[in-house]
């Protein structure tokens, strides 16, 4: 059964097709929910809500564009709803943003687990904007719409996220150097 046929069956509210679609994408979308939710339980709830909305609104998908992209946006928007009401994004002017200093990044030296860890340590407003921009490839205008913030705030939060991450990478690099020198 190809995806178009699956979508057509889901539009007819065929339960077996709906389950098939769920099984096909639930792994990826649960990963997304874990990334954008505050907790594991919240991620489960967000996944449930997302698929309910996907099945309720699937009749609106007219075949133009990527279906997976359409579903991804529903999932992310569902996860971000809690941040729309509970969050206060500080409004910054663009001219407050400092460009990061030059940094030599040797990718082999930096393990993936470290990078995942420092992302998770970011304050929520920086982490969410960073993830949406870097991993989901949303533009600032789209991020601003989703989070009900201004484009300027989106840009400044991204810049601060990058600054924060870079500082931690540099700190780690210096610590490793110190340890290496101290061992000698």
């Amino acid at each position: 059964m190809n995806l178009s046929h699956l979508i057509a069956q889901c539009k007819k509210k065929d339960r077996r097709s709906q389950e098939k679609l769920y099984r096909l994408f639930s792994g990826k979308f649960f990963g997304l929910c874990l990334k954008y939710s505050g907790s594991y339980e919240q991620a489960k709830d967000n996944l449930q809500e997302s698929f309910i909305k996907i099945f309720e609104n699937i009749f609106q998908f007219n075949g133009k564009g990527s279906f997976e992209g359409w579903m991804t946006r529903i999932v992310i928007n569902t996860c971000l709803r809690e941040y729309q009401t509970n969050f206060i994004f500080q409004e910054y002017e663009d001219n407050h943003i400092q460009e990061p200093d030059e940094l030599s990044l040797d990718e082999d030296e930096i393990p993936a687990e470290f990078l995942i860890g420092i992302i998770e340590e970011l304050p929520d407003q920086y982490r969410i904007v960073f993830n949406l921009y870097v991993f989901e490839n949303f533009a600032h205008r789209e991020i601003a719409d989703m989070l009900k913030i201004s484009v300027g705030t989106s840009k400044s939060n991204l810049a601060r996220a990058r600054q924060n991450l870079k500082e931690k990478i540099v700190t780690r690099k210096h610590e490793l150097k110190r340890k290496a020198n101290g061992g000698k």
């Binding site: 639930s26 990826k28 997304l32 359409w70 990718e107 393990p111």
Partner: protein
Amino acid sequence: MEENRKIDELFRKKVPLKEETPPEEVWNVISARLSRQEKNRRFFLPIWYRIAGIAAVFVLIFTVYKLWERPINNSPSLENQTVEKNDILQNRESHPEQSVPKKSEIKKEQFQFKTQTAATATAAKSTGSGKAKTSTNGMTREEERSSVSPAITILRAKKRIAFGSSLNGRKADFMVPILPKGTTEEPVMGVSKFETDEGLEEITTDARVHNKFSISPVIAAVYYGNFGDGNALDNKLADNRNSGEIQTAYGISVGYQVSQRLKVRSGFNNISLNSNTQNVENSIALNVKAIDLDPAASFGIPEGIGNLNQHLVFLEIPLEVEYALVNKRFGINIITGASTFFLKENKTTLISSGLSHPLGPANNLNKTSFSANLGLGFTYHFSPKFYFTFDPIFKYQLNMYDNVQDLQPYHFGVYSGIHFRF
């Protein structure tokens, strides 16, 4: 900028796409909710359609029954019935030269009449030798029975008019005496009481008194408006032009005749209300606080200007009093009362660049609200049991919205229906 790009690339390459299988209970919950939603939709949406359908079937059965019982044709079907004549209400003749008996006193006699069950009477000549006779003219009862009374006699047995009813065990309303032997002419038939305004008023009055209940399917054109200066969705849009649309309402009306002029009525209506706020910037529409924006809503909406449409559907249960100012074939009533509204559907849509973008429900509407109603009713009686109504009614909404400033919503509808008394 180059540094930014480097940082972004580093994370994209090194951080893997996280996938994790959710627990099985997640699908169980999704499946159960989908089943529940489909069940609710199947139950609630058509339930009042079913009730309306059942009521319409009853009305149809009664209509067919009444029409079948009193066939409209020029050849009256005759039935032999023995009835007890208690009163003679009115006699008419088609030939003025023949004597018309006046209203006689109550007599108790046994007559055997050929009875007619036609809905309308036709005039015909009779050259019967007999004239309308009463006991005062000296004729014997036998002579009376055998003589022809060319006039129509409409009997009002025991002050009840069984208009169009079966004659089995009941009193006839049209009676024609047996023609004497040798008479080949059709019996004289006069004008039915129904065909005169005075007669209809009398019959209708009696029908109103003895058939107190009425039922009708109702349809209406409804306009939704606002007397205030505010906007239901966001007061920032107060200066934008806001216009209502004419939508339809339909339902069932039931009534109970308390007295000749006073009637209490209720029922239920499905009523749609639409309003448009024009020239709204799309970005503002996506940030209206009174709308619970759907997660998928903001995608694909370009920058620009559009119209913000609000579509509401209510189940209305009115409770009104109707007082007849004019009580004739054409009637005029004054109607006042109140209605309870239960919110069924609540949608806002942004219409921009020719496309409709559903946004989500408004969150400032009360699920239950009330209105004060005032209007006029115009009626036309086809028969004592069937009448048409045309009711323009104004309904002022009392608490449709929750805590919205400068908003005085109302709707004005013209409700019409064909009523059946029973």
